[in-house]
Each structure stands twice: as C-alpha cells, then as structure tokens.
Symmetry: D3
Subunit: 163 residues, 6 copies
C-alpha cells in the first residue's frame, strides 16, 4: 500500500481547492478493479433470499442489475471522479449461511486514463443497499460491512490487492 | 424489529416478480430516517483529513455535498424505490482519532407516502465513497463498515432505532 | 376517443411555441394508465427466452426492472412531460408461443395533477428494447409493434380504454 | 441474419447471471446503426401535425430533439448497454398521408467498441412517444408499430440490413 | 429587497456546514418565479437566428426546449436545491435588433414548499448556452449578461420584483 | 473571431433540421476551453461570502463542486452537444471587493473529437447560480454578467481568446 501521506491529496490544487485532476497526459490502458462488501441479516431473512434465488422473488438478481447500472452512474455521484467508457461490469454473490451474510463482489474493467476503483465500490455498495431495500420490510437491522477495494490492476500507480 | 419473515417480500408480487409496490393509498406524513457508516484508514490519512478540515483541502466538505446530492438521486439508483420530494438532508461527521476512523451520520426528512431509509443509506454510503476517492492516492486500503439505518420515524410501520 | 382536433395542441401556446402546460390549478387525484407493446422474434429466440425464464438467463426479469426504472425517468426523456411522484409500477409479460411473440403490459399509478400515460408507454417501450438488447446477438430482426395506451383512469379528461 | 440460437445469450455468464459483457479487447471502429418506427393516428391528428410543421406548433421538431437527447441517455436506460461516445445522431421523418402515419428514422454513429443499435432504437422510440405526448389531448389512440433496426455497419459481427 | 445580512446564510447550519434546509414544516402553496438573461452577438449572427426563426434552422426552438428540460433537472445541478413537482415552464424570447441581442424570459410555477427561482434561472441560463452552442461555429464571442430573477410570488418570504 | 455567417449553422442539416453533427472523422486531440462569469451582489452579501471563505459557511467551496459536477452533465443539458470524456475541470474565483463581485473562471480539458467550450460555460454558469442559491435568502437581486468563452485551444478550428 502507498504511504505517500506526506504529499497533499491529489484532488486538491496547491491552494487546497478541490479540482478534477488532469488525466489528459495519461495513456489509455486496460484497467480493472474489484470491490467487495458484506451484508449481514437475520437467519430468517437469509433463508427468504435463498428461497427466492432458487425459485422466485429474485432479490440478488435485482441487486445485481442495480449494481451494474450504478457503476455507469459513478461519475455523476462521486464529485471529482472522471467519466470513463466502462467496458465490463460483473457482480457476484457468495452466501455465508453460517453467518447469515451475503458477500458482494463487483469487478469493473475499462480502457481509459484512470482506474475504476470508484466504479467497483459504487456497484458493490448500491447492490448491497438494494438488498436492504428489498428486505427492509422484514429486517430493518441489516448491516453492510467490509466495503473496500480488494484488487486493482493497470495504470501507472501499480497493482494492488488486499484481503 | 419486525419478524414477519413468514410473509413474502413486499417488492415482489404474488407470482414472485419484482414490482414497485403501490403506495397511492398511504397518507402523506412527515417521515425521517438516519443512517450511519464508518470509514477506517491509516493514521497518516486520518491526520491528513483532519488538517484539511482545519485549514484547506476540505475532504469532509466535499463528502458532505456528495452525500446530500446522492440522497436526491436515490430513486434513480435503487430499482424499486419510490421518488420522493425530499424536504431536508443533513450530513454530520464524527472523528475517532484513536481508531483513525470517521463516522458519517446522514439524516433525511420528507413529507411523503413512504419512508426515507434508502435516501439516508445512499447519502451515507456515497459520502463514505467520496472520502475514499479523495484519499485513495495515499491509502487504498480504507474500509467502510457499519453502514446501516439507526433511526426511523413516521409512517404506518412504526418507529425504529438501532445502536 | 376525443375528436377535438379543431383546437390547438395543448403543448403549444397561442403563438405556437412549445411550453410545459400549467397544471397547478388541477387537483391531485389518483390516476392510472396501462400501456402495451408486443415484440416478435424468431421461434428459436422465443424458445431461448422461455428456457431462460424457467431456469436461468432471465431476459424478462431484466426487462421488467428496466421498464420500472425507465418509468421513473420519463420526465427526463419526454420534453414537455411533468415530473410526477410515481406511486406504483408493474410490468407483466404474456407469451404467445404460436406467434413467437411476447406482450409487455406496463401499469403505472400516481397521485398527481396529470396522468401517467407517458410513464406507462416509456416503461413498456424500454422493457421491449431491453429484450431486444439481450437477444440481439442471436436475432437482430426482432420487431416491436402495437406500442399504445390501452387504459387510463382518473383526472378530468375522463377514462379511456382501447383494445 | 444470425441464427446462432444454440449459443447462450451474450448478456448472461456461464451460470446464467446477467453481466455487462467485456468489450475491452475489441478495437475501436466506426459503427453506425439505423432504426425505424411508425406512429399511426387519426387523419385529423395527422393534419394537425402537418399544419404545425408548415407554420407553427412544431411537433416533429420537438420529437426530433427528444430523440437526439434520448440517444445520449441509452446506457442509463438499457441495463447492460455500454456507455459510448456518440459521434452523430440524426432523426428524419417521412409522412404517409394516405395512412395518416409518420415514419421515424434514427441514425447514430460512434467510434467505439460496440455497436449503436440500442442508441438508434432508443432515439426512434422516444421520438415516437414524444409525438404521442404532444398529440394525446386530441388522439389517445395513436399506435407505434415497426420499431426495429433496419441497418447496422461496422464491428466484427458484420453488416446487417432489413426492410 | 431583504437586507438580513446580519443572519447566517440559510444553507449552512449553526456550525457553518452545508445542509439542505428543512422545508417539511412549510405549507404547499402555488409559487412562481421569472428569470431573465440577455445574449449579445454579432449583427450577422443575429440575422442568421432571425432568418432561422422565420423559415428553418430554428435556434430559438431548440433553446426553448433545452431551457424547459433543464428546469426539470435543477435539483440535480444545484447542490442544496430541493426537488419540486414543477407544474409549468414557459420560455419566451424578445429580439433587440438594434443591439443584436436576444432576451430570454423563463417562468416556472409549482405547488410546493419552496420557491422556483433556481428553476427559472437554470432554464434561462441553459437556454442562453444552447443559443451559444448552436451559433458558436460562426460567433465564438457571444456574451450572456443580466442573468437574474425578475419576479417571484408565493411563499412566506413575500413577493419580489426587479427590473 | 470567425465571420463565416454566410454559411448555415452547423447544428442544422441542409433542410434546416437540428442534428448532432458528425464528428467521427475528426481526430482525438487534447482540447481546452476557459469560460468566465461575474456575479454582482450587495456589499453585505459580499462580506458574508468573504467571511465564510475565511472561516466557515463555504459558499465558494459549494459553488466550485457544483460547477465541476455540472461540467460532467453538459451533454445531458445542451441538446446537440456531444458526450466527451472530460479529463480535467478546475474552477477558480477572483473577488472584486470594490465592485462587490466575484469572478468565476472555469477551465475544462479533454482528449476528444470536439471542443469543451460548452462544458466550461456550463460549469461557470452553474457555479454562479449556486452562489445565487446559497445567498438568495439575504440578497435576491444578485446578477450574473459576462458569461462567455475567454480561451479555447486544440482542434481544427484554431485557437481563440477574448478579454
């Protein structure tokens, strides 16, 4: 992980004002990022989602689409984020029955001048919130944890991976 | 907390298909919801944000606006969420220096036919991701935890609060 | 059906210029509209969608969500359409195996000052185009026909229904 | 026309889950697509639009702009559609007085990694719905038929044309 | 005009942080606002627009629609602005041949809890910029002046008018 | 400045109909544009903003973000404007205490097929309107003047600068 905390943050100019940093001199390269989040719930809610997956009432199918569509809206939501021609988005879910939790894994790819970490994070978090929305009538206490970037490749700043 | 998990989820109709549930028969009442999230980081990153707050390079100021604006986009992002005339949004931040973490508290109010939990959650999560975006050049390992609804009032389903 | 073609169109003012007509004097009432469309395809494509419905690769599930979300964007797309607080959206599909066609039925409800015909039509057409998008790799010749309003109720202009 | 219906649909992965397919390995080439739709109406409505064209109350001028602007929103509306840097959009109208119908022809061009069929279809359908919106006060029974892709060029999948 | 500059600005809370102010206690009333702007250009550009109006190439028709549609997007653009159910938007143009200038007058009406000054200003400014866009190939030096609110009525803060 | 007013406007085709002009044959080059606007106010309002800058209640910080985010929405707002992958946006403010006015300077850069004048103008005007929004409770008479392009470089049409 970088430890360049002596420098100023790149989203501020020399006088400390917010700016969208200039990426016009960067080359277009293929970049990929993966983000994860976990949403925990009551066992009964988990069972309800699991039943829906198998037969009907497809909570995760709706959440997957919400995440994919949100990835395309990232630059509208994150103020200093560059608009990018997204080339691929996938959302995967892993169920942890013992913990009554679902892990969300969002991967985004582009050929562009900046990375897609924010797109992956946005996809993962909106997918998690969509699960919350669809189940909140039966379980208002659901919690999202561990929303983070777990892998990044492409671009000048080097690759990154985290557990 | 509700425990009505024997029922089907309200966002699916009798045949299990997703639908935006009909709220036209509900009265317009004043409703409020609060959501929280915590973003944890390296101590050096925390110090950088703290310095910015005091003088310049205002990470939290940008995150606050991003959260407020995202609350207004909630119905565009969450597939089955109703559009609502949002009456108020506030974003507060609490710093936990010992843990190198910042707590985000988003409160949304409306006079409408459904609650604003999703608006509060969306505001809190986009504010957290904006902090990530502005600091990711120095700290890619930041993690968002505890994204959840902590209070809700107004509407027929009764009040709710959680720690 | 109305036959008031002697009058000028309501979306133009007295000098023929486009305007969003003033609805502020109209009462808020519950209004509902239904629109339909039919998308026709090759028998093999129809079979592919039918298989997907039963097991996986849920074309109609994706189209349903696309239609619901598009209904909420109607005022962004139709220039002189009023923004409305949509209270309910449902999308239903009826398969006609003999004709290798799928009928899309979109119903929208609001409590507002104008009708929701445009929301229902937008939902039906975007659902149809989403089916096209998901199947175009195997069948570029799909055609959408019969996109129309089939029922409307509420509001001063009276009810309407068509086959 | 392709007849590859033995394959799975490209918008689903191997396990049948929706995904935005990866286009990052495709070259950027100039691509063009044309879509058409026909809107049929009462003779009196047709006359009203024709008069407007000549003098004032320009229904087709408004519909043309709506179609052009909608083409730019396609990736927001069609869930698995890639965002593309649209290079050109034109909307043409052909009047068929004998049938009291107007044909809408939308052509979109890009230099990108995927085709623009969905952009052309979206432009044509939103232009048709805008005509409906502007004339619905006098003719609620207008119907849109024949919404389809009529030509496509550029890209690896080869050219396509249909009547 | 108000002279309450001793007070803090209403869009900041007691600690100086931006917030969307709470309007939930305000009554819904009919409110209207008018904004104006003037765009000045070379005489040849003015003549080009005037010819277009009369015959074809309708610059002001396009600008009018852009302004109407922008009014509906105001809450997406102005960070602390409340979303409102806009009831009417009109855009008028007045030509000043002697000055080679066009005046833009935007009027917006709502039944809501806050005023529509921002919607009127947004409509007027985007209409002006659309004129710039359509004529910039022949006249890059066009200038917009006098963008301001000229009238406001409805709501607790009283009526306002300015030249 | 160009004086090619004998030609037709490029946003209309040969028959005078609006179209998004075809830029697919243009090369991708680095392009930059700067736009300015001035907002004038009462001396007490100017003092209020100046105090906010120094300590808290940061009107210009909010306006800066609004301008940056609006630049990314330009193609949604200006009907015939091409979507562009914006590479950088900066907003600067210059205070003129003697005139109780603030100058807004927006600079946008892209690597694309068309220029970014409209993005710079949109950023400057929305930043100005955001200042209006945040101060309108104390000063409804604020006026925006001199909204214009002051510099442009890159692209086939040559560089441009204006005072």
């Amino acid at each position: 992980m970088s430890d360049k905390t002596g420098e100023r943050l790149t989203h501020f100019d020399a006088s400390g004002q917010a700016a969208m940093v200039d990426v016009s001199a960067k080359p277009e390269t293929t970049r990929e990022a993966t983000a994860r989040a976990r949403i925990s719930m009551q066992p009964a809610t988990f069972a309800l989602i699991a039943r829906g997956e198998a037969k009907k009432g497809d909570v995760l199918g709706v959440a997957r689409l919400a995440g994919i569509m949100a990835a395309k809206r990232t630059a509208d939501l994150i103020p200093l984020c560059h608009p990018l021609p997204i080339a691929a988005v996938t959302l995967a879910f892993e169920s942890d029955a013992a913990a009554s939790a679902i892990d969300i894994i969002a991967t985004v790819r582009t050929t562009g001048r900046t990375g897609v970490e924010m797109e992956a994070l946005t996809a993962a978090s909106i997918a998690a919130l969509t699960i919350y929305d669809m189940c909140k009538a039966v379980d208002r206490g659901m919690v999202v944890d561990g929303l983070r970037v777990t892998a990044k490749s492409g671009g000048a700043s080097g690759d990154f991976s985290a557990p």
